[in-house]
């Protein structure tokens, strides 16, 4: 149980590459923070800095009111779950769980108690004397979690722990991780590039890009009011449509009521309607370029004049339009996201 405070954390690699720059983050005790971002955004580096596997170039990191900048991973009172699990292949499941505790010099009966407890919690008790090789992917994942659990650490660090599992198992483990974290109330830091995982797991979401924080907030805050163009495009699938304000004005589709200085207007594919809406609204006309039925919903790509990127529209069920047909789209003012193109920041 601990609060984690990052104060101006930076990481510069010997070659001069800046992986992480000036991260300020205050993680409350028991909170589940998800770091999300595209490949190379520095999210894993940041996690590894917290773990002590990467040195900290600048700034201070404290876990539970103790500055841990120069401490070895084992002394930081954290536990980590690795992407490829990193189980010791020559040890049994029991050995894997007990190894860290043995190194701490805990008495045998205490080790046994903790291992049995974790095994019961994760339902891996029947496999305790098997080698990792004889386990399925999901079971290995549980063992990796168990290894973190037995340490009873003040913080869990997860480095894309579910990315090696198949889709079904991933959903199941996601739910289990969430339940487990809630039950134990242990501060957790979770890295993923999967935005669905990020949105469902997080108490608070940290969106990273280019080694810097783009936005921190609850999943709904981040989804409903993305702070930057990057966040708007990264969170939500299909991605938010971005329209140039000048282009809209020239075509008379720009609604009144958007903040002054708006140069970019974002609208989510779900917020576009084929029927007119009341009040001030965005109105666009185009041609249906492609239909993409995806089961419960369909994606409609609409080509607009002299804009290369088609607009995406999400409709429930099967689409009621045909490819090649002319289409008029509307979106209420409240569903529009005004941005400043130059800074990429949200206005209002």
């Amino acid at each position: 149980m601990a609060r984690i405070v990052m104060d101006g954390l930076s990481k510069v690699y010997p070659g001069g590459v800046k992986a992480v720059t000036g991260i300020d983050l205050d993680i409350a005790d028991g909170e589940m923070i998800v770091l999300v971002g595209p490949s190379g955004c520095g999210k894993s580096t940041l996690l590894r800095m917290v773990a002590g596997l990467e040195t900290i170039t600048e700034g201070t990191l404290s876990i539970g009111d103790r500055v841990v900048n120069t401490l070895e991973p084992a002394q930081r009172d954290i536990a980590m779950v690795f992407q490829n699990y990193a189980l010791y292949p020559h040890m049994t499941v029991y050995g894997n769980l007990a190894y860290g505790l043995k190194n701490q010099g805990l008495p045998k009966d205490e080790i046994d108690r903790r291992v049995q407890e974790a095994a019961a919690m994760l339902q891996i008790a029947p496999f305790l004397d098997r080698k990792p090789r004889a386990l399925s992917g999901g079971q290995r994942q549980r063992v990796a979690m168990g290894r973190a659990l037995v340490r009873e650490p003040s913080a869990f660090l997860f480095d894309e722990p579910l990315s090696n599992l198949d889709a079904k198992l991933r959903v199941q483990m996601r739910v289990e991780i969430r339940q487990l974290q809630r039950r134990l109330g242990t501060t957790s830091l979770y890295v993923t590039h999967d935005q669905l995982e990020a949105l469902t797991l997080a108490d608070r979401l940290v969106v990273l890009n280019g080694g810097m924080i783009e936005q921190v907030g609850t999943p709904m805050e981040v989804f409903n009011r993305p702070a930057t163009v990057f966040v708007a495009g990264f969170i939500g699938s299909p991605a938010m449509n971005m329209l140039d304000a000048d282009w809209l004005r020239a075509r008379g589709g720009m609604p009144e009521g958007l903040p002054g200085g708006t140069t970019l207007v974002g609208v989510r594919p779900d917020d576009l309607r084929m029927e007119p809406v009341e009040g001030p609204s965005l109105t666009l006309t185009g041609q249906v370029a492609l239909l993409e039925p995806a089961g419960a919903e369909s994606h409609v790509y609409v080509a607009l004049d002299d804009i290369a990127e088609p607009l995406t529209l999400r409709v429930p069920g099967l689409p009621t339009v045909l490819e090649g047909a002319a289409i008029t789209l509307h979106a209420p003012l409240a569903a529009l996201h005004p941005f400043d193109k130059a800074s990429g920041r949200r206005l209002s």
């Binding site: 773990a51 002590g52 596997l53 070895e72 991973p73 084992a74 954290i78 536990a79 980590m80 690795f82 992407q83 490829n84 699990y85 990193a86 189980l87 010791y88 292949p89 020559h90 190894y99 860290g100 190194n103 701490q104 090789r133 290894r147």
Partner: protein, 282 residues
């Protein structure tokens, strides 16, 4: 899989049987020859069926050797060969494991330089550096010692390379997981790296044991005391007896005895050995 073709099968078997015959026949001749009496070979015709003097010949080489030609009983020579081969195999593995560990896991200055220095030793087997090596060993007073027999042969890079290649296939997360679990470098080495390398170690052990056992030139050079003779050089001494015809029956009995220990080592370690050459456990 290749299709089952009768003639192809037959041809394949024929070639394989021929190959086996070429390899096995000399061994067969040696075993047969060791069961005849000395005079048989002077007639110029090699017998191909066992004779009746096997027991006698083997007990001669084991208990007497060929004392008048300066060859001791082979028991002592077998022991010397065994000690030398063990020291070379164990020494090489111990040093190689540690040096590969250093090269793969530690970032020290001139790491690459040292790696290439180790690599260079591959190009300098004992035979090439035999004169300076002899000088060094002689100056250190290691002639006629087990240390002199084995240490110059321990320094070589083959095993270091093998372990380096293997260590590089061990995922980095393994090290990181161990660090989070509170294992320092040597603990990681002892608890995780070495157990993971067991099959490789076994394969290396077999190869190095045989390499050590088969050393001929080096022991011949540095041993003058017959209590340090090794079996392979002993065979040679037996052939070149001072003033009599070569006693082929005794030589062959010695040869067969000399071939036994490596075979035993392979038999005992076969399972691990094959595993080490064909798969990595991960």
């Amino acid at each position: 899989m290749v299709e089952n073709d009768r003639w192809g099968n037959l041809l394949a078997h024929l070639i394989l049987i021929l190959g086996v015959a070429v390899v096995v026949f000399p061994v067969y001749v040696a075993i047969i020859a060791s069961t005849h009496e000395g005079g048989t070979f002077l007639r110029g015709v090699m017998p191909l069926l066992p004779g009746g003097h096997g027991w006698e010949n083997y007990s001669t080489v084991i208990s007497e050797g060929r004392s008048n030609a300066g060859t001791p009983p082979i028991g002592g020579m077998l022991w010397n060969s065994f000690v030398m081969a063990m020291m070379i195999a164990v020494g090489k593995i111990a040093i190689s494991l540690l040096s590969a560990f250093a090269i793969v896991y530690f970032r020290f200055r001139f790491r690459l330089f040292f790696f290439w220095v180790i690599f260079l030793t591959l190009m300098l087997p004992v035979e090439v550096r035999i004169v300076p090596t002899f000088e060094v060993v002689a100056s250190l007073g290691m002639l006629n010692t087990y240390a002199g027999l084995s240490i110059p042969l321990i320094a070589s890079a083959t095993a270091t390379f093998l372990f380096r290649q293997f260590f590089m296939t061990v995922p980095e997360e393994m090290l990181e997981a161990a660090r989070v679990d509170g294992a320092g470098p040597m603990k990681f080495f002892k608890d995780i790296l070495v157990p993971l390398s067991v099959t490789n170690i076994a394969a290396m052990f077999v190869i190095m044991f045989i390499y050590g056992w088969n050393q001929y030139l080096w022991p011949l050079l540095i041993t003058t005391d017959d209590s340090y003779y090794t079996i392979v050089m002993g065979i040679q001494r037996m052939v070149t007896g001072a003033d009599s015809e070569p006693l082929w029956h005794l030589v062959m009995a010695t040869v067969v005895m000399a071939a036994l220990p490596p075979i035993l080592v392979i038999l005992f370690m076969q399972r691990l050995f094959v595993k080490g050459l064909t798969e990595t456990e991960k």
